[in-house]
């Protein structure tokens, strides 16, 4: 189930809201959230609920052992418990997400005939696996307390707002709030407003831009010229940002309605003036996860230069692969590794001296190109699109529009996207009096109405981040 679907908006969400706030008891409220979260996940993947619960069980049992060995001072056993738990969880991820990819490539490489059944990708497996890993590793590090109640750990793992597309919420972020949170009217109102903003990003902006990108990439290469391929790249740049950040907004808003305070996952990434800054603003929960659980344990930058370069390559290779079992994601990861190394080793001093606009243009340019690599899993299609972008091919504008007038939606959605990617809304603060608040409520209601009109009318509604 996705947040912008009718069954969520008109069935699960209101039922959960009513049930949750009618019950005064914290334990029962958590039970409502747990049951509804399992139902939410089962809506799209009934059988994979068991897999998610099994992974949670492994983490719960592993956590109990880590805690027990820790309290007995058995350091080696504690470490072994950690390694075993992590291996089981990672193996689960590898089997369900990467095994087909590995076998296909081994067969290709060695002309082999190794055959395994096609394994379906469970929704959100990368997100919940990383959440579970953060619990186990933080427990090992002594940064969180052991969770003895399996159901509360399960609630952390499968809490529906962040279950299938993040943000990757660390256990320590909501450890306290699972049992001791307070729901306030202010939080509920702010949560609803955040949810509506996210819904608008997804239903209006992302889906609108998607029409343009898909139109261009689904047509033969010679149908369009260079300019149209840049328009498509821009459209996809808008689509993925509003899609993913919209989902994060909805997740954060929903969490807040129920008294949880998740950390921010996006901070206007397209205003970045360097690639380094971009990754501080884009999918923050993922980049900080890799920083804290992979990069720093590998030694971070406090090692000799060659090792540091290797660390960067490992982290970004894994970041790429986290997004999908496909070579283009690995290439995309290494693309960013190369850019970051270039920035850190050569460009940072030069960039510091350039005007802000040039620095922004530099970062935005490489981000846009990066999304083409990310979007097109077929290498020949990717090479073709990049070739069209970087070698001049004139555009027959009438022919392009005549082939499908939906291309004209670019005129609407790309400028609107470019405006909405800027931090304008936070600056438009209404006065905190009755009229200001009422106007804000009315505007959010109108925006929600617009989203519902589009959702009711449009059959196009996939979430890109589902596949991760």
């Amino acid at each position: 189930m996705v947040f912008s679907s009718l069954p969520f908006l008109y069935a699960l969400f209101p039922v959960v809201l009513v049930a949750y706030f009618l019950i005064p008891n914290r334990v029962w409220r958590n039970s409502v959230l747990l049951v509804s979260s399992v139902f939410f996940y089962a809506w799209g993947e009934p059988k994979f609920v068991l897999l998610m619960m099994a992974a949670t069980l492994v983490a719960w049992v592993g956590g109990l052992f880590i805690h027990r060995f820790d309290s007995r001072g058995a350091g080696r056993a504690k470490r072994a418990a950690l390694i075993l738990t992590v291996c089981l969880l990672v193996a689960n991820l590898v089997i369900f997400k990467y095994l087909n990819f590995v076998v296909d490539n081994l067969n290709l490489l060695f002309s082999g005939r190794l055959s395994i059944p096609a394994i379906a990708l469970p929704i959100g497996i990368s997100f919940y696996t990383f959440q579970i890993l953060s619990y186990v590793i933080d427990l090992y590090r002594g940064e969180v307390a052991v969770q003895r109640n399996f159901f509360w750990l399960a609630l952390y793992v499968c809490f529906f707002p962040q279950l299938i597309a993040g943000p990757i919420v660390r256990y320590q972020t909501i450890e306290h709030e699972i049992r001791h949170r307070r729901e306030t009217l202010d939080d509920v109102v702010a949560g609803f407003k955040r949810f509506i903003i996210g819904l608008a990003k997804k239903a209006l902006l992302a889906n609108g831009a998607a029409v343009v990108a898909e139109l261009v990439y689904n047509n033969p290469r010679d149908a369009y010229g260079t300019a149209v391929y840049w328009i498509a790249a821009l459209a996809y740049t808008m689509q993925i940002y509003f899609d993913f950040s919209g989902y994060s907004d909805m997740a954060i808003g929903l969490g807040r309605i129920f008294g949880f305070h998740f950390l921010e996952n996006f901070n206007y990434p397209y205003i970045s003036r360097s690639i380094t800054e971009f990754w501080r603003r884009w999918h923050i929960s993922l980049s900080t996860w890799f920083r804290d659980y992979i990069y720093i344990p590998l030694g971070g930058n406090r090692v000799r230069k060659s090792r540091w370069i290797l660390n960067i390559l490992i982290v970004w290779g894994l970041t790429g692969l986290w997004h999908g079992a496909s070579w283009n994601f690995l290439l995309w990861g290494f693309y960013y590794a190369a850019l970051l190394l270039l920035e850190k080793l050569l460009l940072h001093r030069l960039l510091d001296k350039l005007p802000g606009l040039i620095r922004w243009a530099y970062a935005f340019f490489f981000v846009v190109v990066g999304w083409v690599i990310f979007d097109l899993t077929d290498f020949s299609q990717m090479a073709g699109a990049l070739g069209m972008m970087f070698t001049y091919h004139p555009t027959d504008w009438f022919g392009a529009v005549a082939a499908n007038a939906d291309l004209l939606w670019a005129v609407v959605w790309i400028p609107l996207g470019l405006v909405c990617m800027l931090p304008i809304l936070p600056r438009l603060k209404l006065p905190d009096n009755l009229w200001g608040r009422s106007l804000s409520h009315a505007l959010h209601l109108a925006l929600a109405g617009l989203c519902v009109i589009v959702i009711l009318s449009s059959s196009y509604n996939p979430f890109i981040y589902f596949r991760f």
Binding site: L6, P14, V189, F192, N404, A405, L445, I453, L456, S457
Partner: protein, 389 residues
Amino acid sequence: MVKKRLADVLFLSVILLLLLAGLVRTLFFPKELNTYENRYAQKAPALSVSGFLDGSYQSDLDAALADQVPLSQYAKKLYNLGTSALMESMVLPIAQSHPNRYINIFGLRLFNGTHLTYYTNILSDRVPGLDEKAENYNQVFAQHPDTEFYVYFIEKDTDIDFETGEKVGIYEYLAGQLNLPEERIARYRIDSFDQFSQWFYRTDHHWNAQGSYEGYLQVLELLGVAEQPLTHGDLVTVSQHFSGSKASSAPSLYEPFSVYPYDFPDMDIVINGAPAADYGNQDAWLSGQGTGAISYSAFYGGDMGEIIFDTGTQGRGSLLVIGESFDNAILKLLASHFDRLYSIDLRYYEAYMGTAFSLSDYLEQHQPDRVLLIGNADYFASQDFLLED
């Protein structure tokens, strides 16, 4: 502070009420019809383990909510109107600066910036269907040697590429397959966009007043009717806002709906077995009494299983018309020249009449002198219109 809290509570109450209203309506007070999309409304499915596991429950509930959520039809209407108006405002200037060119839009093609057209047929795609129909017809012709069969093929935008002027050739192919004398086969010929734009609506797939009158004249000639055709009055515009079938997802596109007034002779009409005051609502619309949205079927009459027109005359013979919606506009015109005219639409006959259509039985029962098979390429290539003898 209290007032601000009240505003917050009001805000949350409105949202919750709207969300709950959708669920309550869907579960407890579902409506039967989706009038905007002209079909039965989907209702909430019964929850079952097997339905949930195979995903059918989820998709059915999704469809039910899309139909049952309060104001959902207005929402869809508003969305279609807004998006099509926006798209139209962007496309029309481009289209008008490129006359005689197609632009793919709304799942159709806008030609010349004025007419929504279907994609041109590809003959090879249609050949299997045409062959099957030709075989079916030839069997029928052979089994009823005493009945005069006539074929009238109506060409439209699918039969010609307006950019190149190239014809698809479906009529020629079909005519070559049928075991009928040449003089019993004719077509409503469209050889250019100018001709098409004169005889067809801009937003609907049917022929317009001028086109249908032309078709009527040609059918009379095909049938060898010696009587003078009915004459029409001056063109009358009964509505300025006609948005035809091709504009179903682009309601911002509309055109005037103009018609010819006719002085029809008196006739008794039986529709689907029941006597009817009239077929269609031509008089009502012409006198300004038409209700609802104007459409081809609202004016001329809709698709029916069987319609019988009886002029009460003797000696002018009878005609059986087996066709589709194109003939709706000329049935009363044609009926004026016969004692009786029987009209059958094979798509609806069984549903309305309660029994499958059998040509042999029908011919035996009504003894029509002539049988006219009339329709466009879809009619002559589709299995929906196979004749069961």
